[in-house]
Symmetry: C2
Subunit: 383 residues, 2 copies
Amino acid sequence: MSDAPVTLSQVAREAGVSLATASRAINGSATRSVREDLRARVLETARRLDYSPDPSAQAMARGRTTALGLVVHDIADPYFSTIAAGVARAAEREGLIVTLASTEHSPDRELAFVELARRQRSRAIILAGSRTTPPDAGAGSAPAETAALAEGRSREGRPRALESTLTAFQAAGGGVAVIGQAVGDLPVVEIDNVGGADSLARALHGIGYRRFGVLAGPPRLRTAADRTSGFLDTLAELGCPAPDRDVVHGAFTRDGGYEAMRELVSRSHIGTASGARADAPEVVFAVNDVMAVGAMAAVRDAGLSVPDDVAVAGFDDIHTLRDVTPALTTVRVPLEEVGEIATRMALGVELENVLVHTEVVLRESTRRDPPGRHPTYGMRATS
Amino acid sequence: MSDAPVTLSQVAREAGVSLATASRAINGSATRSVREDLRARVLETARRLDYSPDPSAQAMARGRTTALGLVVHDIADPYFSTIAAGVARAAEREGLIVTLASTEHSPDRELAFVELARRQRSRAIILAGSRTTPPDAGAGSAPAETAALAEGRSREGRPRALESTLTAFQAAGGGVAVIGQAVGDLPVVEIDNVGGADSLARALHGIGYRRFGVLAGPPRLRTAADRTSGFLDTLAELGCPAPDRDVVHGAFTRDGGYEAMRELVSRSHIGTASGARADAPEVVFAVNDVMAVGAMAAVRDAGLSVPDDVAVAGFDDIHTLRDVTPALTTVRVPLEEVGEIATRMALGVELENVLVHTEVVLRESTRRDPPGRHPTYGMRATS
DNA sequence: CTGTTAGCGCCTTCAG
DNA sequence: CTGAAGGCGCTAACAG
């Protein structure tokens, strides 16, 4: 029953042609042309023998694989899995195999995977997931350098190491695309985090909110920082700056949102019947949907209600989180499409950098008017 | 700036040893032993040159890759992405690269990916996602056969084709693990869907529910069918059989849950103030969390409330869906762990088939008592 | 247009 | 214990 895979030379022999001819027949060679009848014969016996080429062998001979590397922070996070779905679809269309790396938020691992992809001569590599700013953006820190050496890693700062590895990969003919925000001059599918947050602030202000809080995520995570600053800047511009007290940082996860909200609730005495402060936030912006869901849980656990005691808004519009109750106001990012675009870009199909626009979606979690029957609430407001 | 990857022979030359010695030094050969000083020298220059082996070349020489194939129905579905996270973690620990295939529910594509993995001599392959029963489990259908041929695919029925391809892969030395339910005699990480559904039925019955409905998913999907029948059988045993009318099928997705619930609501006049039927279901079991969330949205859109008008329960305990409001009663499946186990099993670390137990988690979506303050509600009931 | 011949980078018998 | 040589499956110059 066991059968060693059929090789090209077997096909060639069986078809009565040379190896080269068989190869040319099966995949049109650059300098193509094989007599029609021969080609047909080869193809036929290939099918009959159930032949299919060995990717490793092809990779060796051609000097490049058929693999597309996708590196994400955490594949279990719906943000990334949605992007991955887009990448998988586009990759299949291009006949590429996607190799997945879930770094679990470790920059070291991220770098290692990129190096692996490079070494493996992947056709292209897509980096999803926000960059982080270095802990000390200060002077050429000698201590950090020795630490890096001790770890046996690059002599440069991590971010630069990543960038230069990627650049080297690109120089060697590999395709690259980064998702989120730019890394050096590499091709990027940029997500308009600042613009989306700005629109959200305006939309919320537009429906009457005046006192805002923010669950800002990790301070050094670019995506989180951009969304936060976009929101805060607009708020200031609108004349409703959020006090520092009401901007709390936390992990970019459900639990992070939960904890941050808990902190905010106690800190600002939101809705506490006995001691609600007159200046407590009316609405809280969590910088991603997953955090927002955690935040809503915290509100509920505090015996309060969304949106009556505090409204909550998120960012991303994760499909599967779309209809939590109350339905979450958020900023829609077409994640699956982002994955597809990034793939095409990394493959050189798409040439120019793309800025993906986002769209505010107002739902019940930020409803202002007193609870009641508003079955038609939930229309979109374009940003 | 561009630098062609360093090869082993460069390292060897630089270190002043032969290629063979370098190879043996870097990866302890079977018949090992390299003089200590030489080995050190090789290792040192390898590090200095930033050498790392070319996976394709190794694959060719050794006859097997370092790749682990993971095929799922839809990577954007949290069920699969959670499993994928477990697989990714375990794979990294084993030094394997995971290649991801998202079949978008197409059995053809699934088969194609398995064949690719086999051809590529992947080290192992993990098949996640429920099998479907063939449309016609009847006699050796000639028409189906010609259709298959016309499609250029296997001569056997799809399911059998999959199984035999997998078996062949295994016979050729590849590791295999299937997640969900058994496929032939292949290693399997079986999920106790029937037992979980049974426990859920008992738990709901235990807190007083007597009239049940089921959003059953696609009839031919094994996982859905098992959960449905496990639930229904126990209900019958408990003396509260669910009428056929209250078992509605639909897609295994959020939208499927939404539509199915909408159908059920109108069909059974659940909670319709004017015409609620006395025998309308009090609680509805959606065979997975994603459907359950859709179902809750449908209930809400019908102007009804969960759990007051109808209670809703799901299955899986997707982390990110855990705290929708009201919090979802469900059956917990340790998905990430499942992914890890499957990986170890496919790699031959784990030897015996595993039956993964599930656990009922009662939360607010099936709370019976009148709404009020029950902040401590939500404890687990072990199954 | 087709066949022959080198390798691609690495592992692995075989001698030495 | 180490070095030389062959080959994995396929492609890409070269001849013919």
